[in-house]
């Protein structure tokens, strides 16, 4: 699979699990896209751990360090897996993985060079020393516990937006 095919497959599979997708070239378009996504009255949590996260322009008066009181989480994820359309977050580098879980809306940025083809590519790298937490997130939170009727948004985010950023 070429790089482009891998990215396309990833975005297709992300879209197939009821998440929104976008692909942008360079960082220039990212700010506007995020501004549109978070809307006027959201409280935003952004861990500011990566260069990309630190470069995002956010409405500073509505930014919080406490993800439990945020309605939106904007963060860069660690990797993407094309096979399943999964986003990966890990606890490495002091990230609170649950920061992307508690707010109702998760906006995930992913650098396209962090997208791998298959689950095998991803899981073969850890050996005996994975970080404390690796979480794959595939689509928004869901349940079908009542009459197998699909309901989106239970304990985790009801909305997931994925922006693939190409440097």
């Amino acid at each position: 699979m070429t790089r482009d095919e891998t990215i396309d497959r990833f975005l297709e599979n992300v879209a197939a699990v009821a998440a929104e997708t976008a692909r942008v070239r360079g960082r220039a378009g990212v700010d506007r896209m995020i501004a549109d996504l978070i809307g006027g009255d959201s409280v935003v949590y952004c861990p500011r751990l990566t260069e990309l996260e630190r470069s995002i322009a956010l409405p500073e008066d509505r930014v919080t360090d406490d993800y439990t009181s945020a309605s939106v989480c904007v963060e860069e994820v660690f990797a993407g897996i094309a096979e399943t359309g999964s986003l990966v977050s890990t606890s490495a580098g002091g990230r609170a993985v649950q920061g992307g879980l508690v707010p109702q809306h998760h906006i995930a940025l992913i650098a396209t060079d962090r997208i791998v083809e298959t689950l095998d590519h991803f899981f073969s790298q850890w050996g005996d020393g994975p970080p404390t937490n690796i979480t794959l997130e595939t689509g928004p939170s869901r349940t079908a516990d009542i009459e197998l009727t699909l309901t989106i948004g239970v304990h985790g985010p009801g909305r997931l937006s994925v922006i693939a950023v190409e440097e």
Binding site: F123, L136, T138, I146, T149
Partner: protein, 454 residues
């Protein structure tokens, strides 16, 4: 003297369930939906190759279970987890309770775990003054209704939306609704408060990875992630056979488990947890305890039913089973229902109690076809029926009938079965078989086939 155990009254339970039209409709809907989704999802992967690979990995682990367990314990301990081994349910319950007591915990949030049902954990903790909040929506419904799960993946499969609506209105004092989305929202809001204020979380695990000492959880709602990352204390309870060798083996099971369970290519969330929160981490419980439950599995793994422990609890055999479809999970009167449940119940709870469950199968073989790890379910069911006969758990009247049948079947030189049926077996059957069943059989023909062709 050994205490006598009352056998599960499967037939009476089933006879009542068959009359419950609401239950039957819910089961038809669920099993049809699951079967269709599973077939669709399975068509997207090289299923046979994956089943073969998964079966091989599981067999390898079971063949060397104690060394894999030792390795897991070493690696998990190195990552900072505290690992406990419990020989039976009582030991597991006490271990978990003592950890909670030590931390002065008065409330735990719990993610779905079948092994916690097996060891009857909730009742024990509640009796010891701890509030237990089930957080998987299906489990939450079951807990509010004071019932048991009737399916290992969808615990409240037997309830329809109106029953859930009435339950919520009564127990949570909310307005009646029969909209699943609205009901889900009510549960979410109630449970969010519980998550944020709980000092401890208890979860199961789908797999434990020997090489890295990690536990792996597949969830859809996000409650599993909440229970394992928000409280200070996290206790994982799992049975000893859930080990896989390394993280590199995980993709095979990711491709099979959700597909077989719900027809998804992967669950919404998959967490790999390795030890508690470490210096510099902002994720993870401060203290992680892993409690391995044996409950007789060490001896199962050493015997002729070892293959049963390959099971990864996907529930596909329940959805494929025509008997489960007709009566649901409660009638089995055991923790695990359906084909895998019959076998596990006999092995875990003993023949004396569980032998009636061996009649809960037509040996149609549908379960064996869908099992993602190739547990030879029909074969194990048949072998357990043989053991039931050997151990004398079939009715005397049935034994007498079969003995007469055996004699007749081997006396062909004297008279054909057609004639022996008419002359010998039929009068016997008329005495042995209950009138209801007898009425469903045709009468023997005047002249048997063999007399006609003579």
């Amino acid at each position: 003297m050994t205490p006598t155990v009352a056998p599960i009254d499967f037939r009476s339970n089933a006879a009542a369930a068959v009359q419950d039209s609401l239950l039957r409709a819910a089961l038809r809907n669920a099993t049809d939906t699951f079967a269709a989704k599973r077939a669709q999802a399975a068509a997207c992967v090289p299923l046979e190759e994956l089943r073969e690979a998964a079966s091989g990995i599981r067999s390898e682990v079971l063949g060397n279970l104690s060394s894999y367990l030792d390795r897991f314990i070493e690696r998990a301990s190195r990552a900072g987890a505290q690992v406990h081994r419990a020989a039976d349910s009582a030991a597991a319950r006490e271990t978990i309770f003592s950890i909670l007591k030590q931390h002065r915990v008065d409330k735990v949030v719990k993610a779905k775990s079948m092994v916690s049902e097996e060891i009857h954990l909730n009742d024990y903790l509640i009796a010891n003054g701890i509030r237990v909040v089930e957080t998987d929506l299906g489990e939450y419904i079951i807990q509010l209704a004071s019932e048991q799960p009737s399916h290992i993946i969808v615990p409240a499969i037997h309830k329809d939306r109106r029953q859930v609506g009435r339950l919520f209105a009564e127990k949570l004092s909310c307005e009646y609704s029969e909209d699943p989305a609205q009901l889900t929202k009510v549960a979410q809001q109630t449970l969010r408060r519980e998550f944020l204020s709980a000092a401890a979380g208890i979860s199961g695990a789908n797999f434990a990875v020997a090489e890295s000492g990690s536990v792996v959880l597949f969830t859809n709602e996000g409650n599993g992630r909440m229970c394992t990352t928000l409280p200070r204390l996290h206790i994982v309870v799992l049975s000893i056979e859930k080990i896989i060798p390394s993280l590199a083996d995980l993709p095979t099971f990711i491709r099979l488990l959700p597909r077989s369970a719900t027809g998804q290519a992967i669950t919404s969330y998959l967490s790999v947890i390795t030890g508690p929160r470490k210096l510099g981490d902002r994720t993870g419980a401060e203290e992680l305890h892993i409690v391995f439950v044996d409950n007789g599995r060490s001896s199962i793994v050493a015997g002729e039913y070892r293959d049963m422990l390959k099971c990864i609890r996907c529930g596909a055999c329940l959805n494929a089973c025509p008997v489960y479809r007709t009566v649901g999970g409660h009638v089995y009167g055991a923790t695990y229902p359906g084909p895998m449940g019959i076998i596990l119940s006999v092995l875990l709870e003993g023949m004396a109690k569980a032998h009636p469950l061996l009649d809960a199968t037509t040996l149609c073989g549908a379960c064996g076809e869908v099992c993602p790890v190739k547990v030879p379910l029909p074969d194990l069911l048949r072998r357990l029926r043989e053991r039931r006969v050997e151990e004398g758990f079939t009715p005397a009247i049935e034994r007498a009938g079969i003995a007469a049948f055996g004699r007749a079947a081997s006396l062909g030189g004297l008279f054909t079965l057609g004639r022996s049926m008419a002359r010998v077996l039929w009068p016997l059957m008329e005495k042995l078989i209950d009138p209801q069943t007898l009425g469903r059989l045709p009468k023997p023909a005047e002249r048997s086939f063999q007399r006609r062709v003579r």
